[in-house]
């Protein structure tokens, strides 16, 4: 009786996970491995027409990529997004979370929803909106800046300002999600510790630094990791707003991969880019984890 029940349970377990696992296997695992294999071939438009035109070329794709100045430009741009974006987004979301979490705040739910709303919106639609917000002559942002006496900036036309402009948009769009994660974490901060600190006369900044921050440190790390991964995956923004320009200053790694794969039809090369992307995200994640472990955060 017991035996049969155990077997029935095991059978059910496999049956219930089978559809999902099959889908994951077929549509995620297989393509991921295929990507690796594809990156060792020179699959291009000739191969698309006739598979006999396919050749195994080993690391040739990787060698060509490393020698391609545009690839390095894409990597550089993506790294700028990471270096500038992660502190910005983490900082903004933490600030927003602290604001929404504050004791004396009224109508908390309303602000939570309002600040989260941009995250829910469709990226392409809001990218189009920001395209116009950033317009040199008719955009609201330059209009607002004109009140501060600042001359109109050609945000999306100047190679030096295009990347920060897109970053501003990305920050607006995504800080809400991280804010929620921080909110959850802030709720877990020990109230007793906070009260004790308050009794001891510690002001809000001291309380933040010595009680709150250590408590939420693992969350800060999590949000940082998620944001880094997000920065590496920026595609729709340059595609809609700048098409990689001006002067290739907003070509991200993913945009480069898309062009390589679907504009030039070098699927082999595109797969190599995808794989390098994966390795980068993995590397940065591992480094962050190691630094955190060393710093005693986790």
């Amino acid at each position: 009786m017991r035996e049969a029940a155990v077997r029935a349970e095991a059978r059910a377990g496999w049956a219930m996970t089978a559809p999902a696992l099959t889908a994951i296997g077929l549509f995620f695992v297989v393509p991921a491995f295929a990507s690796l294999i594809l990156s060792f071939t020179d699959f291009d438009i000739y191969a698309l027409a006739d598979l006999n035109n396919l050749r195994f070329i080993g690391f040739e794709n990787y060698r060509n990529l490393l020698g391609n100045p545009l690839f390095w430009r894409a990597m550089g741009n993506t790294l700028w997004f990471v270096v500038l974006g992660v502190p910005l987004i983490v900082g903004l979301s933490l600030a927003a979370a602290l604001l929404v979490h504050a004791r004396t705040l009224k109508w908390r739910a309303a602000w939570r929803v309002a600040l989260f709303a941009p995250f829910v919106t469709t990226l392409v639609a809001t990218a189009v909106v920001w395209n116009y917000l950033l317009h040199t002559r008719y955009g609201l942002i330059n209009y607002g800046l004109s009140f501060l006496g600042i001359a109109p900036v050609d945000w999306l036309g100047n190679p030096r300002t295009a990347l920060p402009a897109i970053l501003l948009f990305v920050a607006w769009k995504s800080f809400g999600y991280n804010m929620i994660i921080f909110l959850a974490s802030l709720q877990m901060v020990s109230k007793d510790l906070l009260d004790a600190a308050r009794v001891d006369g510690a002001g809000p900044w001291m309380r933040f630094r010595h009680v709150v921050l250590p408590s939420i440190a693992p969350t800060v790390l999590l949000v940082a990791i998620l944001t880094v991964a997000g920065m590496f995956q920026l595609f729709a923004e340059p595609y809609v707003m700048t098409q990689g320009g001006p002067a290739k200053s907003t070509v991200t790694v993913l945009y480069f991969m898309f062009e390589e794969g679907f504009k030039w039809w070098n699927l082999g090369s595109g797969a190599a880019v995808a794989f390098i992307l994966f390795l980068c995200i993995l590397a940065v994640t591992l480094v962050q984890l190691k630094l955190a472990r060393r710093g005693g955060a986790i």
Binding site: D42, I45, L48, R55, G157, F262
Partner: protein, 384 residues
């Protein structure tokens, strides 16, 4: 049927004017995404029956075997069309599409400034032309230039290369030939226009409003195509309308060449009814339809005779296009061409900025072209 830009917008009207034309479902594509879309659809087996394609795409489309060659009974339709344009539709000697409209680039000039500098029309040889540009620049005043050559556009250097007689790739399109003396001459001339302060060192996105600048005299020569005629008429102020003209390009020792551009109609492999599709294509390029398209969109007809009928030969603005088209020379017809020419311009950009000498630049262009053509070489060797 897939069509792009203004042609897509006006197709319904065009079809309506053709009695007995079949019902056509038209899907418009933006030019910027059309090329991508065609290839993705090819991969997904979802190409239409008949479509408009840029005539520089033939090499690719033939390489992947996506289009049908023109049936024998329609081949006579291209007689009387500009030969260079027809040539772009021919791959390995086979005619793969029917030219629908043509365009090319030439100079749009501020005729008033040229007159003030002492020229009724721009000279036809490079030496004299450059001298004229210097004079026009001084007439235009300080802070201005003579000609707009956006540094990110490869069309200007390729036009000069063709005028100099350069082939840019070797005979069978397997290696770069940028080191040939003709191309060197063209590259040196191109660079000198920037070095001598005749062209501003700017990309197309940095010139916020071309029309304002042209009207201002910031530059007096604007290389462009027939689509600009309408823009000039609508965007330039009224008092400037008699102060601009068109002229063919100069060459090193006489009139220069340009690239034969335009779009053609092709029938895709896998079309439901190829015979009907070709019949439709043939109808669309009948002289009457060509004239109608010209009236609707301003596109230039591929058949010489239609130019006379529609008055294009009489209008001095468009007559220059006809002259330039007669002098057009085709570009290399390899699928990798667009990539090669993008790399060429990237190196040219750096050369103008002083990071490459002419020698080093042409060697680098050859190196990059050779790398891009490696697969083609391998395939041709295999076939041999």
């Amino acid at each position: 049927m897939w069509a792009m830009g203004a042609e897509a917008e006006n197709l319904p009207a065009l079809l309506a004017s053709m009695p007995g034309a079949p019902k056509v479902a038209i899907q418009p594509l933006p030019w910027s995404a059309a090329h991508e879309k065609l290839l993705t659809s090819f991969a997904g087996d979802s190409l239409p029956d008949i479509g408009q394609v840029g005539n520089s795409w033939f090499a690719e489309l033939t390489a992947i075997d996506a289009i049908e060659p023109v049936p024998a009974q329609y081949q006579h339709l291209v007689a009387g069309q500009f030969p260079a344009v027809v040539e772009t539709n021919r791959i390995d000697g086979k005619l793969m599409g029917l030219p629908w409209y043509v365009d090319t680039r030439l100079q749009f000039v501020r005729s008033d400034l040229f007159e003030r500098a002492g020229y009724a029309a721009p000279p036809e040889t490079w030496g004299a032309w450059k001298e004229a540009l210097h004079r026009v620049k001084s007439v235009a005043g300080p802070g201005n230039y003579a000609i707009l050559l956006p540094i990110n556009e490869f069309e200007h250097l390729t036009q000069m290369a063709l005028s100099a007689g350069a082939t840019m790739l070797n005979q069978d399109g397997t290696r770069g030939a940028f080191s040939a003396p003709e191309f060197r001459e063209a590259l040196a001339f191109y660079k000198s226009l920037y070095d001598e302060g005749l062209a501003p060192l700017a990309s197309s996105s940095q010139i916020s409003n071309v029309w304002n600048e042209f009207a201002r005299g910031y530059f007096s020569v604007y290389p462009s195509g027939p689509w600009t005629i309408g823009d000039m008429k609508s965007r330039l102020p009224a008092d400037l309308q008699d102060k601009w003209a068109t002229a063919p390009f100069p060459g090193p020792h006489g009139p220069g060449s340009s690239t034969p551009g335009g779009s053609s109609l092709v029938v895709y492999k896998g079309a439901h009814d190829p015979a009907a599709a070709w019949a439709l294509a043939a109808e669309l390029i009948a002289p009457a339809a060509q004239a109608k398209l010209q009236a609707l969109t301003g596109d230039l007809p591929p058949t010489r005779a239609v130019w006379g009928a529609t008055g294009l030969n009489d209008d001095p603005i468009t007559r220059a296009f006809g002259i330039q088209l007669d002098r057009a020379r085709p570009l290399p017809k390899v699928p990798e061409w667009e990539r090669i020419v993008t790399e060429m311009q990237a190196v040219a950009d750096l050369t103008v900025r002083g990071q490459f000498s002419i020698d080093a630049a042409v060697r680098e262009m050859d190196r990059r072209a050779d790398r891009l053509l490696e697969k083609r070489r391998w395939m041709l060797e295999r076939r041999a």
